[in-house]
């Protein structure tokens, strides 16, 4: 694994980091193939697979019919017989169409077969709101997935992690769902040119601080960083934990941070009720109760589908302002 702090200062956008990761891992492992709707001919509707068809040919870059059940089911069968499928489900919302293949087949086959099957599948998908794509193209449904024993789930926030986690996901011999964020596609960051892995299950401290721990998922890391700048002006020193992998979850890093700061907040874009924040808050109070100066705060979307109107959508999504307001309340206790 390369170090994030190597001298390589090249900055590329998130979308290019994904693209580079796909190219490099397909180059390295010749049992991989890319399967999905419009992933080959046009290189993916988000541009994440541009050039893959030219490089690896139509046997390894396959445009499928619009058949999500078929696509994911095919991946399960191909993986069980020795291949390493990389599947694209364009928008995370479309997981609804193939939820049996994910829930009842992919996640469980190995266990049900007494360990006989190995399913090194990577499902790449795009989540998140903010583009007025309305209720069926904007959701954050990671809570569905972290609840399924047998699956791993990653949610990269930075370009560096997008590439490194993707490569690690493909190399992992378990099914891994990689949730990218469509609003992050243009965000630039340092990405080494060579292939590297960001280990699954390891969180990252996105900002060091002493007064408050914010655990932020996916794109919310940027909102939390922005909030932390505003809080710094008020003399509040915020630590931000980016879990990077949601399942398995790096409990230790979060608990260590909370033991230092004594205050914790969880931020995700998904609906707050039943979201990952509840699990994280529960773990914190189980393992660091005596260190807490206040209940763990949670920020998520309100309990409604994602609205189309841009104003409503902005009001719906968690952001830096909401984090700052909640942090002030938390620190006033």
């Amino acid at each position: 694994m390369a170090d994030a702090n190597t001298q390589d200062k090249r900055e590329i956008p998130y979308v290019m980091a994904i693209n580079e990761g796909v190219h490099q891992i397909m180059q390295e492992l010749d049992d991989t193939f890319l399967l999905g709707e419009d992933v080959a001919g046009v290189g993916g509707v988000f541009g994440t697979y541009r050039g893959v068809l030219d490089k690896f040919g139509p046997e390894r870059a396959i445009d499928t019919p619009i058949s999500e059940k078929g696509i994911v089911g095919l991946a399960v069968g191909a993986a069980a017989t020795g291949l390493r499928p990389m599947v694209d489900i364009m928008f995370m919302d479309f997981l609804g169409v193939c939820m049996d293949e994910i829930t009842n087949q992919m996640a469980k086959m190995r266990y049900m077969f007494g360990g006989a099957a190995t399913l090194p599948i990577t499902v790449m998908t795009m989540g998140g709101a903010g583009m007025s794509m309305a209720a069926q193209h904007s959701q954050s449904l990671e809570a569905w997935l972290i609840h399924l024993p047998g699956l791993k789930v990653v949610m990269p926030s930075t370009p560096y992690d997008a590439k490194g986690l993707l490569i690690a996901a493909v190399k992992d011999d378990n099914p891994v769902i990689v949730i990218f964020n469509k609003l992050s596609l243009g965000i630039k960051g340092e990405v080494p040119e060579e292939s590297y892995e960001v280990p699954l299950g390891k969180a990252r401290i996105a900002r060091e601080g002493t007064d408050l721990t914010i655990v932020a998922l996916g794109r919310m890391v940027y909102e939390a960083l922005n909030a932390a700048e505003q809080l710094a002006e008020l003399g509040i020193n915020t630590e931000i934990v980016d879990p990077r992998t949601l399942q398995p979850f790096d409990t230790d890093t979060v608990i260590q941070s909370v033991k230092k700061t004594h205050k914790a907040m969880v931020v995700h874009e998904a609906v707050r009720f039943g979201g990952m924040g509840g699990e994280i808050a529960a773990q914190i109070q189980e393992l660091a109760f005596d260190y807490l100066d206040a209940p763990v705060a949670r920020i998520g979307a309100p309990f409604s589908p994602v609205p189309f109107n841009p104003g409503l959508e902005q009001a719906y999504m968690p952001n830096a302002e909401k984090i700052v307001a909640q942090a002030k309340e938390l620190l006033d206790r």
Binding site: E37, D38, G41, V42, V45, D63, T64, P65, I66, S67, E68, K69, G70, D93, F94, G96, V97, M131, S132, M133, A134, A135, Q136, H137, P302, F303, S304, P305, P307, F308, N309, P310, G311, L312, A315, Y316
Partner: protein, 323 residues
């Protein structure tokens, strides 16, 4: 089937021009940044919505696709509330919460555009079930694309409708592409209608650029459904003149300019206009006057939409449940 009177011919033409002008202006508004989000337009496919909907009343239902503006207009949607919805305004059909991809109006039996490809088919089957259950002679129509015919939802809906003998017509708008993938690369058949045989229902292929052909084929299928004889799969061969989403889309190179031009030579509006002129059912002056009056309707509707307020933030949590 209703006899094809001059009045019906005229209505068909009006319907098609209304859709064309609505969409052309929607496309411009999107390019000018006034319409947020995705916008899938129906330009080139107008004959299908017009020809099918001519047989329906407000009591009959349709389910639509992501490409739904033409369906709603033909079903009786009003332009002002439609543009308002595309703008996300509170005066829109969905109070600004759905936008283009979810535009709907249950009062005229339009059960929604849909952001999930194929999702409308079983819903139309449900509406047909409801019609039969309540012993009405209403029919439900499911519009869907060639691409959607590869979703499991299509196959389950077709089989359910056939085995339960429900009053539904599956209207496939085969425009040769699912997004950027040509039909030959997404299915090993040329006629989606062939799939009907597998479910025990008639499959019919019709030229989707000829509104009279669509009208006649749809009429037969709808009559059959109303008489309790079960579903039909009606495939209309068509083409979308704009890109998949937006007018110019994302600039992907997936079809040739020559192909687009070839299809534009069979523009359903031009073909039908020529027919009406040839039959002396309309003059050039009539056509120009009609276009003018529809342009005024469009302008007034856009003005209404622009001047309408956004939904109040307090409405964010409204309509998640009944009270």
């Amino acid at each position: 089937m209703k006899e094809l009177t001059n009045e019906i011919l005229n209505n068909l033409y009006v319907c098609m021009v209304r859709i064309r002008l609505f969409e052309e202006n929607a496309g411009k508004l999107q390019e000018n940044g006034k319409i947020p989000g995705a916008l899938h337009m129906y330009v080139g496919e107008e004959a299908i919505a017009a020809g099918v909907m001519a047989h329906l009343s407000d009591q009959d239902q349709i389910t639509s696709t992501h490409r739904g503006h033409g369906h709603l207009l033909a079903k009786g949607g009003e332009m002002d509330k439609m543009y308002a919805e595309l703008f996300g305004k509170v005066t829109g059909y969905n109070k600004g919460k759905g936008g283009s991809m979810h535009i709907s109006n249950l009062e005229v039996g339009m059960l929604g555009a849909n952001g999930i490809v194929g999702a409308g088919l079983p819903i139309a089957v449900g509406a047909a079930f409801s019609n039969k259950f309540r012993k009405t002679d209403r029919v439900a129509i499911a519009f869907f694309g060639d691409g959607a015919s590869n979703e499991g939802a299509f196959h389950e809906a077709a089989n359910l409708a056939a085995v339960l003998k429900l009053p539904v017509v599956f209207v496939c708008e085969n425009n040769g592409y699912g997004e950027f993938t040509p039909q030959a690369q997404h299915q090993a058949i040329t006629d989606v209608a062939d799939r009907a045989a597998g479910y025990g229902m008639p499959g019919v292929v019709v030229d989707g650029m000829e509104v009279i052909a669509v009208y006649e084929a749809a009429g037969e299928a709808i009559d059959r459904a109303r008489k309790g004889e079960g579903p039909t799969l009606l495939e209309c061969k068509t083409y979308r003149f704009y890109d998949h989403s937006g007018v110019r889309g994302m600039g992907f190179n997936y079809r040739t300019e020559a192909e687009v031009e070839r299809w534009k030579k069979r523009d359903p509006l031009d073909l039908f206009k020529q027919h009406l002129l040839d039959q002396e059912l309309m003059t050039e002056a009539d056509a120009a006057a009609l276009a003018d009056s529809i342009r005024q309707e469009v302008e007034a509707a856009i003005e209404f939409a622009e001047n309408s307020p956004d939904p109040d933030l307090s409405t964010l949590l409204e309509d998640v449940y009944t009270n």
